[in-house]
């Protein structure tokens, strides 16, 4: 029974990766479980300079979900390299650096610098965060911008390149195609959906930033459909995320086409969520005599017509 998954040259011990933004750089979870059990981690999104982020409130609870508008608060590239990378390098897990920027030049700079770091195993390009007012939204929702960005970034990027797509777009499968055409090594999808919550006693949004990103179990059906559509469009591997709360969700996403999964919002409810999921996958594969978990990937059989 083998939980291991290969993505190009990268070898994940299991398909579970801690999603960017919900897990910091791992430190806060160390007291809850041994971080070495993780297949991988995608750290908090890093920008060229430190960012303070949006004013609070930055979170609203919604039915089976949350809206967040953190606004990419992060220590900046320099401190990430000097402090966080050193910390992360002690663990035997795939370390994905999530990078965001305002301009193509800055994306290229980030990717070029991160490509020099031994402790970075892969770079996840954040073109999809809906909370940043300046520019970040544009790349992930505009075919021409995305194409131009990726053509330049691919040249600078010496590490496996994962592009994290936003679902706030007309045709996510088409965007995935653009990523493949530009030589991306993998797609990660989906980021959060743009949403709103209102406090009826004040007639104001709950979030100080007004709109925010929706995540959690409520988005799973939509995210799952998007993964299936992306899988029909591209042949590069897909890392899926969107409301995963247990091992059955992981299997569902893998059947839809995912090679690996990321778990985010679930950690906020239960710091033991990821160990529970990894354990659950192990038990499931053992009980159902699954030799290799990778065999689930893309095994969905869509109905074509009238067949049973």
């Amino acid at each position: 029974m083998n939980l291991g998954v290969k993505l190009g040259e990268l070898e994940f011990k299991n398909p579970v990766i801690a999603a960017s933004g919900t897990f910091g750089f791992g430190r806060e979870y160390e007291q809850y479980f041994d971080l070495n059990i993780l297949g991988g981690i995608s750290g908090k999104g890093i920008t060229p300079k430190p960012r303070t982020g949006n004013p609070p409130p930055r979170i609203a609870e919604t039915p089976s979900g949350i809206l967040n508008s953190v606004g990419l608060q992060n220590p900046g590239l320099k401190r990430y390299i000097e402090e966080e990378l050193l910390y992360l390098s002690q663990f035997d897990i795939i370390n994905i650096a999530n990078a965001a920027a305002d301009t193509i030049d800055d994306y290229c700079m980030m990717v070029s610098v991160l490509s020099q770091e031994e402790a970075v195993d892969a770079i996840e390009l954040n073109v999809s965060c809906p909370n940043v007012k300046t520019g970040c939204l544009a790349f992930g929702t505009d075919e021409k911008e995305l194409d131009l960005l990726l053509s330049k970034v691919r040249r600078e990027c010496k590490k496996p390149l994962i592009v994290k797509l936003t679902p706030n777009t007309q045709n996510i499968a088409k965007m995935a195609g653009i990523c493949q055409d530009n030589g991306a090594d993998a797609i990660s999808a989906v980021n959060t959906f743009l949403g709103l919550a209102i406090d009826i006693s004040t007639k104001r949004p709950v979030l100080k930033n007004n709109f925010g990103g929706l995540s959690g179990p409520c988005i799973k059906p939509i995210a799952l459909r998007m993964i299936s559509q992306i899988y029909s469009e591209v042949s590069i591997p897909i890392i899926a995320m969107g409301g995963i709360s247990n091992h059955l969700d992981v299997i569902e996403y893998m059947i839809a086409g995912a090679a690996l999964c990321m778990v985010g919002t679930a950690n906020m409810r239960d710091p033991y969520a990821i160990p529970g999921i990894i354990g659950g996958l192990s038990d499931y594969c053992r009980d159902n005599k699954i030799d290799s978990i990778s065999s689930f990937t893309g095994s969905l059989k869509l109905y074509q017509g009238d067949e049973d």
Partner: protein, 253 residues
């Protein structure tokens, strides 16, 4: 982690007191810290509710919470013998010194975590208490503050019980005589206490509140504005991990 509930009783129409059997938490927690409680029975309410620790006894821990919405309402339906899913103790609490003349200034439900602080302070410090409530229906726990303290001043905004007026006005009259002040309550009240303590150049610790996510410092949603460590401008620290208790000089209220 799951803990047995020893008691979960109503103190008033919308305020409940829950005691859980939690020896490890009781042994390690200190005033100002909080517990993160999972909402039972309804998985669609994803987030844990952060509730301040109000007291400990040997192996048990007590929290007091107000019913604000469906989550806290469901928590209030848990019975003695049920189990509560709780994370904690979390956060940075109040520092407890020795041989100081201290004052506690609490407003409304902000009074509850200050009880734990009072119980620890009285061992080696003099403690004066100032407790303010909106009206007599909100008045809770002020008798407990009498034990071990030099003086307890209670007021209601509308004068329906005890003194009439804002508690900060009563505190201000005595404010120059304290070494350290501790405060918890509505933000407007904290602003007044901060103004008064700045006037007297008195050390002040405040307990802040902000909507939380993970509660353990990873997701960064519970931001509170602080003066920048280097240079002008501001930064955001986080209530669950850097707080809830802050030196008032650090925070921009």
């Amino acid at each position: 982690m799951m803990y047995s509930i020893l008691e979960n009783k109503a103190l008033s129409v919308d305020v409940y007191m829950m005691t859980i059997e939690a020896p490890a938490i009781a042994a390690s927690c200190y005033p100002g810290q909080f517990l993160s409680v999972l909402v039972p029975y309804d998985k669609s309410l994803l987030l844990r509710r952060p509730i301040s620790i109000c007291d400990t006894k040997d192996t048990s821990v007590t929290i007091i919470y107000q019913i604000k919405g469906e989550g806290t309402r469901l928590i209030s339906t848990l019975k003695e013998g049920d189990r509560a899913d709780v994370l904690g103790p979390l956060g940075v609490g109040f520092p407890v010194p020795e041989n100081k003349k201290t004052a506690i200034v609490g407003g409304g439900i902000g009074v509850f975590p200050l009880l734990f602080l009072k119980n620890r302070l009285i061992s080696n410090n003099s403690v004066d208490c100032y407790l303010g409530y909106k009206n007599k229906e909100c008045v809770l726990l002020c008798d407990e503050f009498s034990y071990g303290t030099s003086n307890v001043c209670v007021s209601t905004d509308d004068g329906s019980l005890y003194n009439c007026g804002y508690i900060t006005d009563f505190f201000e009259k005595d404010s120059s005589s304290f070494d350290i002040v501790y405060s918890c309550g509505p933000k407007d009240m904290l602003r007044q206490v901060k103004r008064i303590c700045e006037k007297n150049d008195t050390l002040l610790y405040v307990s802040l509140e902000e909507r939380m996510g993970c509660g353990i410092g990873a997701c960064l949603v519970c931001a509170c504005k602080t003066y920048s460590a280097n240079g002008p401008g501001f930064d955001y620290k986080h209530v669950c991990k850097d707080g809830p208790v802050f030196d008032s000089r650090e925070v921009i209220l």
